[in-house]
Symmetry: C2
Subunit: 234 residues, 2 copies
């Protein structure tokens, strides 16, 4: 790995990197309907995510917020799992579970350390309201909520990565994308950003282990946010 | 005044309401060139603000960030005050003084109290980078940085006020605009937002007192953010 200059701005992927969507969704679904396979439900919901965004990227759908894409997917997943008796209010509440995702255990302390020497922002496909509600509930101390919603483009569109650098008038090399997904980091790297991979081996649950092996193309490879803070001298 | 339901979201004007642009700019100009009338310089710079935004609103200029509008005005004000010997680097640094404005003394404590029971966001014509840098330097604990930059429209365009409500999926009446300027509040009220006027009698310096008398059309009239927190039961 190369050892470039310290980034001024750290931008974070959120779903999977900052928060445990799988565990949080499974817990709420289990509480709602104990007999449903809550882990499979969470996986099915998330599996609809990239295809739904692709409908926006391709122009099939106009600009649509993640809250609304989540709802389109949820309506199918509820059918698939036989949960057709939820009221509209229950369904809306469940759809907002993405606003109530819990952070991984290292996140709040790690962000507090990283924030001392860096500007820390979300750079998520999640919408601004979702990310703000999540941060307020979980105590995530972002300096700024940046979202695909600001740029009207979804990652991995270069407009999102380059847009973040532009917002702060920084060259892309002064920005580090932090994510638990190699494809997100690869797209950021193509735009000239530094990249930090975070291992989240339980992102898809403990039954389905994830490949978290290093890619030498990344600037950093960290176990978690505390490890990243240590590597960046925070 | 009517006594409506407690707002869920508080959105704040920034220049003059949260931070003392006049005092902060005068101090930097005085340090740079002791013989210049620093207070008049600050007033002249700010006086160019609405006309510059009007060029964007009217379509004469395409979408332009406040940092860039500030620079257009600054170049004229530097001429006007005979400061034609600044280097490009000094001029750029001075232009960024808007990122380094100091908050009024009640602001940090007031926002901390308001944040406990409300979501607190900027709703400023300032650009996202400016507002984030300012918040980081001054310790302003925003839940979210909302800016004209998100909506590509400058206040008092209704898109800004209604856009803030939409981001959080709230009816306008669940949002309160907080500002030290009656015209900003009047525009917000037209969109259905609640409004809180904050007295900032020294906004234009202590030599030029400002009319801070109440307008009964506002939902609240507060001396400062601590007073607003008390009125909202925080």
């Amino acid at each position: 790995m190369n050892t470039p200059s310290t980034p001024q701005l750290l931008v974070f992927d959120v779903f999977g990197t900052v928060v445990d969507w799988h565990g949080s969704i499974a817990r709420e679904v289990r509480a709602l309907r104990p007999k449903v396979d809550a882990e499979a439900f969470a996986l099915a919901w998330r599996a609809g995510y990239q295809p739904a965004m692709q409908r926006v990227r391709s122009g099939e759908l106009g600009w649509t917020l993640i809250d609304d894409l989540h709802r389109l997917i949820l309506d199918q997943v509820l059918q698939q799992f036989g949960l057709t008796d939820l009221s509209e209010e229950q369904t809306r509440h469940l759809n907002k579970v993405w606003h109530r995702l819990d952070p991984w255990p290292d996140v709040v302390a790690g962000l507090a350390r990283l924030k001392k020497r860096h500007t820390i922002c979300t750079l998520s496909n999640g919408n601004i309201g979702l990310l703000t509600n999540m941060a307020k509930r979980a105590g995530l101390p972002w300096d700024c909520i940046l979202s695909a919603e600001v740029f009207h483009a979804y990652k991995p569109d270069p407009m999102v990565y380059l847009g973040a650098a532009k917002v702060f008038e920084l060259p892309p090399a002064a920005v580090m994308m932090v994510a638990a997904h190699q494809d997100d980091l690869a797209a950021a790297r193509t735009c000239g950003l530094q990249t930090a991979y975070i291992e989240r081996p339980a992102e898809f649950g403990i039954k389905q282990r994830k490949d978290v092996s290093p890619d030498p193309a990344n600037t950093r490879h960290a176990r978690d946010f505390l490890d990243l803070a240590a590597q960046l001298g925070c």
